[in-house]
């Protein structure tokens, strides 16, 4: 009754002795939305690359539309109708939308000369398929992330796609954009196209998929109907661990605020923002992407200083014009894009951990005291359970969750009073997310004041005692999280 479009059976793959896939199965039916989930390193990406012809399996079979595939190349896969939309979309941001759309098909036909008129025709046809309205002559660099993704989707659709694999497509999208993407996915499904949706975000899996498959450590853990799944089971399948929800309850909240913000304004981003943060408390700030929430974080840390208003740290008015001022006032920031803003990826984990406290580690003549530095690094690696064989390795060798721990570790090494986190668990898998929340809650209990800026509402509800909702740059509502739920917060956000 259900026809399989793609059926992988007993697939094995090893890389230089590492057994990445240990005999996994995957069954995708015609016209279904199938979710493939699993933590980082579980083998999802490897399987995708095997299906799309980038890797060859060591053992096992793959059938597509009833025919066994043997040793296919990426081009073969495309010809069969298998399209992958990578996390980075594989678009050329320096070229126009038109060229991005038309290049692949022109190359597939082995053309040597460019016909710009034909290119425009191809591009027009491609965007028409999903009614995507865009200036074909705009460079892709001027598009939003969501629009770039649409370009990638349109491009995939041009080859009579039958299976579209989306590798964590929602990572960089706002809530609204995710909704728009889901609409497109449903449209594609209606056209009989199967979608393999790779994600580790629970709510998305529930919302969009009909069936799911979960991998852990290169093995198939569970496959079935999504409606039989619930949050606890999902987390258990993913991590093999059970997590009790840990609702944060502030214990000792100071009377005097650690951080007090009065009428803070950054023109064009946010206006007249006032709030207070006490020791021992975790306060959430949420809002849509354009609500000014990210800019508020940058203003508090002095990256993009506010135009007017005042910031008081421990009751003292502090003028924060640059990050150094913030650090002096014992305020730290874990930025939204930890990859570009919070870490020196090619440098070692050690260097990243101690960079903010170089002054403290320096002996006379500003020379770093090596013994002190070594002890400090050992302490931090242990305390934050950073999973690395050697702290001398480059930061980019770590998984997202571990990178985030390095960023946290870096700041905690400075004995801060106030820590501002912007999207602290974006792109982090469930296990690490849980650990990071635990760290934050412990820090608050230890007397730190923490401000979490996030649009992940379950995260805010679980960890914060109060939440501020920003809309169009102004605080619309301040709520006690005990009186709030997701729907209520959302209603203030929109």
């Amino acid at each position: 009754m259900f026809q399989s479009l793609l059926k992988a059976t007993g697939v094995h793959k090893s890389f230089a002795g590492v057994h990445a896939l240990k005999g996994v199965d995957l069954d995708i039916r015609k016209g279904e939305i199938h979710c493939l989930a699993g933590e980082n390193g579980c083998g999802k990406s490897t399987l995708i690359k095997i299906i799309s012809g980038v890797y060859q399996p060591d053992a096992g079979t793959i059938e597509f539309d009833g025919k066994a595939l043997a040793r296919i190349t990426p081009i073969d896969a495309i010809m069969l109708g298998i399209q992958v939309i990578y996390q980075d979309f594989s678009v050329f941001s320096n070229l126009t939308v038109m060229e991005n759309l038309a290049l692949n098909s022109e190359l597939a036909q082995k053309r040597r000369l460019v016909n710009w008129k034909r290119m425009r025709e191809i591009a027009r046809e491609a965007v028409a398929k999903i009614n995507f309205e865009v200036d074909l002559d705009a460079p892709v660099s001027s598009l939003s992330v969501a629009q770039k993704q649409m370009v990638a989707i349109c491009r995939a659709l041009m080859f009579n796609a039958r299976l579209i694999i989306m590798d964590e497509p929602t990572t960089a999208l706002t809530r609204k954009e995710v909704q728009a993407l889901f609409d497109i996915i449903l449209k594609l499904k209606a056209q009989g196209i199967s979608i393999l949706f790779v994600s580790h975000k629970l709510n998305e899996v529930f919302e969009i998929s009909e069936r799911f498959t979960i991998f852990r450590n290169g093995e198939l853990v569970k496959t079935g109907e999504t409606r039989e799944l619930d949050s606890n089971k999902f987390t258990y399948y993913m991590t093999g661990r059970e997590f009790a929800p840990q609702q944060f309850v502030p214990e000792q909240v100071s009377k005097e605020p650690l951080l007090e913000v009065r009428n803070l304004t950054a023109k064009g981003f946010f206006e007249d923002v006032s709030f207070a943060l006490h020791a021992g408390e975790i306060v959430g700030v949420t809002g849509l992407l354009d609500s000014g929430r990210s800019e508020l974080a940058l203003a508090l840390f002095g990256v993009r200083p506010a135009d007017s208003g005042e910031i008081r740290l421990k009751g003292r008015k502090t003028d924060i014009r640059r990050p150094r001022d913030a650090v002096r006032g014992k305020l730290g920031l874990v930025p939204e894009d930890r990859l570009s803003e919070g870490l020196f990826l090619p440098r070692s984990i050690e260097d990243n951990l101690v960079i903010a406290e170089v002054d403290r580690l320096a002996g006379p003549l500003s020379v770093i005291d090596r013994t002190k530095r070594r002890d400090e690094i050992r302490r931090l690696v242990d305390e934050f359970k950073i999973a690395t064989p050697d702290p001398k390795n480059a930061c980019q060798t770590l998984s997202g969750g571990n990178q985030q721990r390095v960023v946290l570790g870096k700041w905690l090494a400075c004995n801060l009073d106030v820590l501002v986190l912007s999207g602290p668990t974006v792109g982090v898998d469930i296990g690490s997310k849980h650990d990071i929340h635990e760290i934050l809650q412990n820090l608050a209990r230890g007397g730190m004041g923490i401000l979490i800026i996030s649009d992940d509402l379950p995260e805010i509800l679980e960890n914060c005692s109060r939440v501020l909702v920003l809309k169009s740059g102004r605080i619309r509502k301040e709520m006690d999280t005990r009186d709030a739920d997701e729907r209520l917060i959302l209603s203030h956000m929109m």
């Binding site: 990426p74 081009i75 990578y86 980075d88 594989s90 678009v91 050329f92 941001s93 320096n94 070229l95 060229e99 290049l103 692949n104 022109e106 190359l107 597939a108 053309r111 040597r112 000369l113 460019v114 309205e133 002559d137 705009a138 460079p139 660099s141 001027s142 598009l143 939003s144 629009q147 609204k176 354009d290």
Partner: protein, 344 residues
């Protein structure tokens, strides 16, 4: 029409063109000699060699690479050609020397191409290395000295004029060299290559994102290899033309030109990070540098202040156009966002 204008403001060329125009007017005001037939011919003639080099380096930079070996490559091939033909007592026309130079240029370019394209080594390191090797071959193996005389056919080619422009007031006359035709042909060829072939679009794609270019089906290694071969050929042609026009071969004459050439190309809007740039911009940028270098006396800048002025002009020129482009792009991005918001 409005859209066309808007698109134009997002490009770098109009700004660099304005800077260029302002400079020309300044020279005219200061000397009264800029817009004279002979001066314009002088500039066209001074543009030939730097212009050829710039076309080559423009393609390399768009691909995300860099080449600092082209002056050494041009010196070596032009010296070897001239020396060999002199010793052989060659008396024919320009075709044989040109063919010899191009073959050698292709071979030396292929050396760069193999290391950069097929072995994937960083272009900067490779070309710094080959630059030394080429210089070494010329000075060591070929024992280079200044060649005061060049074969007659080459001399003829270098001094032949398409036309002679004479200034009716001062009586000064300047020759438009025949080699300008070669330069013009290469401009058209590179323009066609970069805009109307998938080889050229592959160079742009590679400069934008090499991994994606490979995934999209470009033969990135092969493209890089042939790119450096072509650049070697263009450079060797430029070297030979320089020798013919000077009617002598100074082996060290072109060494050190790379910095100003690269500056001109970047000034013309070619992104040093790769992926963006146009032949028009590249030529405008190079023209700006050539005019500046050859007009310091006309403007009346004291010799000791010359490098300060040239440097400042490069910084200002690049800065002004880059800033304008950033602003235009930000406006465009905002427009996209508001459009989207309006839709939602």
């Amino acid at each position: 029409m409005r859209q066309w204008l808007r698109r134009l403001t997002r490009r770098n060329e109009p700004y660099i063109f304005l800077v260029l125009l302002a400079l020309c007017l300044l020279i005219e005001v200061r000397s009264g000699q800029f817009f004279t037939a002979n001066n314009l011919v002088d500039i066209a003639s001074a543009m030939v060699v730097p212009g050829l080099f710039a076309l080559g380096i423009y393609m390399v930079i768009v691909s995300g690479g860099i080449d600092v070996s082209f002056p050494a490559l041009a010196s070596l091939t032009s010296y070897a050609t001239t020396k060999y033909l002199l010793d052989a007592g060659y008396t024919g026309g320009i075709w044989l020397p040109m063919a010899m130079s191009l073959v050698m240029g292709a071979a030396l370019g292929a050396v760069n191409g193999v290391f950069i394209g097929f072995f994937g080594l960083p272009a900067m390191i490779v070309t710094l290395g080959t630059s030394s090797v080429f210089k070494g071959l010329m000075q060591g193996a070929l024992n280079s000295v200044q060649l005061a005389v060049i074969p007659e056919g080459m001399r003829q080619f270098g001094t032949d004029a398409l036309f002679v422009a004479t200034n009716p007031v001062s009586g000064l006359s300047s020759r438009m060299p025949v080699s300008f035709l070669i330069f013009a042909a290469v401009v058209l060829l590179v323009f066609f290559l970069m805009r109307y072939t998938y080889f050229g679009r592959g160079i742009y794609a590679m400069g934008g994102n090499e991994v994606s270019a490979h995934r999209a089906g470009f033969h990135t290694r092969r493209t890089k290899f042939f790119l450096y071969v072509i650049v070697g050929m263009i450079a060797s042609a430029a070297g030979l033309i320089r020798t013919c026009m000077m009617q002598q071969n100074h082996p060290t004459n072109m060494l050190g030109m790379e910095m100003n050439i690269i500056a001109g190309v970047v000034l013309g809007g070619t992104a040093i990070t790769g992926g963006a740039g146009s032949v028009t911009g590249c030529m405008l940028g190079t023209l700006l540098i050539v005019i500046v270098e050859n007009s310091m006396i006309l403007i009346g800048i004291p010799t000791v202040w010359k490098s300060v002025f040239v440097g400042a002009l490069i910084v200002i020129g690049t800065g002004v156009s880059a800033m304008q482009v950033v602003r235009a792009n930000r406006l465009a991005a905002n427009r996209n966002l508001t459009q989207e918001a309006a839709k939602a």
